[in-house]
Symmetry: C2
Subunit: 120 residues, 2 copies
Amino acid sequence: MAPRGGGRAGGDVTAPANLLRDLPDARAGEVGETILARPGLRIVRTVSLGQASPPGFWYDQQEAEWVLLLVGGARLRFADEAVERVLNPGDSVDIAAHRRHRVEWTDPATPTVWLAVFHD
Amino acid sequence: MAPRGGGRAGGDVTAPANLLRDLPDARAGEVGETILARPGLRIVRTVSLGQASPPGFWYDQQEAEWVLLLVGGARLRFADEAVERVLNPGDSVDIAAHRRHRVEWTDPATPTVWLAVFHD
């Protein structure tokens, strides 16, 4: 889920007042906003609306990423796991650096809000 | 909000499967659980139920703490601010190290779930 952290189209904006209100329109693409950035640490909120990773694409990130699904729904796949993980609100997963993964699905009917903590 | 991070009674347990389900019983005291610990980084989920800081007590923490209220409600006070901050779900605040603060109130009627990211 690197695009959430790395300067993606949709851009990085500073800390929204509330992470769950006044969500950006993600119909044209995921929107990532950096909430906090320190050396070795980046907290990013991303809003998805039906996006998934392109067929055959795998994220291979330099940083580890702890991600928490705040609202909505998603399915995440790891290259080293046979089955997808279904993520519901409150579900979290720590993704080690360079552990290949992809987003198979996000709910097209309602925004999915992710909180990602990128760390060393 | 140091007790959430520093070995408080209630203890540190490893990552619950879902941060919003099967909440621990916080009637007798806040319950903090470490979700992730790395050098310079600690992610802690804390459940409160009506607790507040003791009268006259101020947290004065070595680490900075970024905190997000996931569910419930709370009021937070900083020694350098005249008025309390009301925190609703989705509200976050980054508390600098040694910035004195206290929890004035948490909702006694329903659990309040905090996500805290302690960082350097």
